[in-house]
């Protein structure tokens, strides 16, 4: 088995596995009950895209793609940090509180909302 045949097989395998991972992450983003789940899915999507770019760099031979992967990781980090600040500022929105209590199946709607209000007041202090 020659070197190029091994590389061709392994890059094809990596592309298939990464595509499957991309699909699973998109399923979580579509299904995800709350906003932080979707933000986490976005973070994972960026990580998988970086892997994709690295595999394409091997397959095509253009080493410039590695710089693009580094820039994409910077953008993904900043996006996640910005979304985290947004979640911190917004608190628990009513519709995601309803979805959350449906997923956790414990608290009633009023009970789920009450600690959120207390948390928000504590955050302002």
């Amino acid at each position: 088995m020659s070197a190029s045949a091994i590389l061709s097989f392994s890059t094809t395998f990596a592309l298939v596995a990464l595509s499957l991972g991309l699909l699973l992450t998109v399923a979580r983003i579509v299904r995800g009950p709350t906003l932080p789940d979707r933000v986490l899915g976005l973070d994972m999507l960026v990580a998988i895209a970086i892997g994709f770019i690295a595999v394409i760099a091997i397959r095509s031979g253009f080493n410039l793609y590695i710089d693009i992967a580094i820039a994409l990781s910077l953008v993904g980090f900043l996006a996640t940090v910005a979304f985290a600040r947004f979640i911190l500022a917004r608190g628990l929105s009513p519709e995601s509180a309803g979805a959350d209590s449906r997923a956790a199946a414990v608290p009633t709607r009023g009970k789920a909302l009450a600690p959120a209000r207390r948390q928000k007041k504590g955050g302002r202090r």
């Binding site: 709350t34 986490l40 970086i50 990781s73 995601s96 956790a104």
Partner: protein, 120 residues
Amino acid sequence: MSAGPDLLVAIAVSALLVAGSIFSLLAALGILRFPDLYTRMHAASKAGTIGSGLLLLAAGLHALDIAILLRALAGFAFFVLTAPVSAHLLAKAAHQAGYKLTNLSVTDQLPLAKQKSDRL
């Protein structure tokens, strides 16, 4: 025999490729299957980081150029440095906003720490 080192590099690169893509796939599977945000974060920030880091390392090793390899290593190091920071920030923001842990979780130590700091 001139193809010897070439074959070795190809085998190393393809081992890194397979390992990295399997790590990424398992991280995505963990994101889909774990019960709540805080457990999903484990899969995303540990397995996901190692997965794309190994793929970057494979790309750097394949070029057989020290500048490219150093660039890939710098990307890996940057990714390893930033992924825990963003995951911790997201978990802290979600916990402070009031997103609940799953019913399967045994204890939540953050409210206790908060009360202690309020009392001090």
